[in-house]
């Protein structure tokens, strides 16, 4: 079932991303103020959406479910690890595409603005999570440590979201999810923007399914190696 879903999800996600690129680069009109630069809106916000609201939210929820004794399962640990790794890739893409957009519109590649700084901090914290996963430890000890680290890092997600409201920033406020819930763009541009969110979310889900299978297979191999090592010790006559 999962394999069928993954086989279906992959081509659909890739096709939708390709359609988003075609519409974004060749079909949608240029903006009256930004000209062609507005075409970055069809990738940058969708990358940020996946990184912050899908990947890291998923990592936070899965970590919470792992720490909760009634729902504790290694499945949640593996899902959180998969979401974080892909989330870090998407966060780096968000920062770089934002920087490329910032240079011609703001005149600088980088500024210590609240939105940019909190997003960079989020990337660094989740890189720390990935480093923590590589520290050799019993799988359950590692899962507990990582779940706590993910929850601490996830505190930054609402800070990133509200940073443009709480502080004066160069970064613009929300265009679609603003306080009045009234999108300030319309027509083909709005539909292409919506498509980008759907396409990149499906791409993320596909990557999570693949990454999850890798994590499961690797853990099975670690267990087999441990069983072999214990068996070798027993045969040597040493207490295991």
């Amino acid at each position: 079932m999962k394999r069928t879903l993954r086989r279906l999800l992959g081509p659909v996600a890739v096709a939708l991303v390709a359609l988003d690129v075609i519409l974004g680069l060749f079909v949608t009109p240029p903006d009256i103020e930004q000209g062609d630069l507005v075409r970055l809106v069809y990738i940058h916000p969708a990358l940020a959406w996946v990184a912050l609201y899908v990947a890291f939210a998923m990592a936070g929820i899965c970590s919470l479910l792992y720490l909760w004794p009634r729902t504790r399962s290694m499945t949640y640990d593996r899902l959180a690890a998969s979401a974080v790794e892909i989330g870090v890739v998407f966060t780096i893409l968000t920062l770089v595409t934002g920087s490329i957009w910032g240079r011609p519109t703001w005149g600088v590649w980088w500024t210590w603005d609240a939105r940019l700084t909190s997003t960079a901090l989020l990337a660094v914290m989740f890189l720390g999570y990935l480093a923590l996963r590589r520290v050799p430890a019993d799988p359950h000890v590692r899962a507990r440590r990582c779940a706590v680290a993910a929850l601490i890092a996830a505190v930054d997600v609402p800070i990133v979201h509200f940073s443009v409201i709480w502080w004066q920033t160069l970064h613009q406020g929300a265009t679609v999810l603003n306080s009045n819930l009234t999108p300030t763009i319309h027509g083909l541009m709005a539909w292409t923007l919506l498509l980008s969110f759907v396409a990149f979310t499906l791409l993320f889900l596909w990557m999570v399914l693949v990454r999850y299978e890798i994590e499961t297979l690797d853990e099975g191999e670690e267990d087999a190696e441990l069983a072999d090592a214990l068996e070798a010790r027993r045969q040597e006559g040493a207490p295991a």
């Binding site: 680069l25 630069l37 892909i86 893409l93 770089v96 595409t97 990454r211 890798i214 690797d218 191999e221």
Partner: protein
């Protein structure tokens, strides 16, 4: 337009490279799992 091309190129080079890395790691993990049985 150069900035737009730079943004799209960087994004898709990274995504395709990461996708290829996932495919390689999945193949290797499956091969190892088959070998361990």
């Amino acid at each position: 337009m150069n900035y737009v091309i730079a943004g799209y190129t960087f994004t898709f080079v990274v995504l395709i490279s990461y996708g290829a890395s996932l495919a390689y790691r999945l193949r290797r993990a499956r091969r190892r799992a088959r070998g361990a049985k």
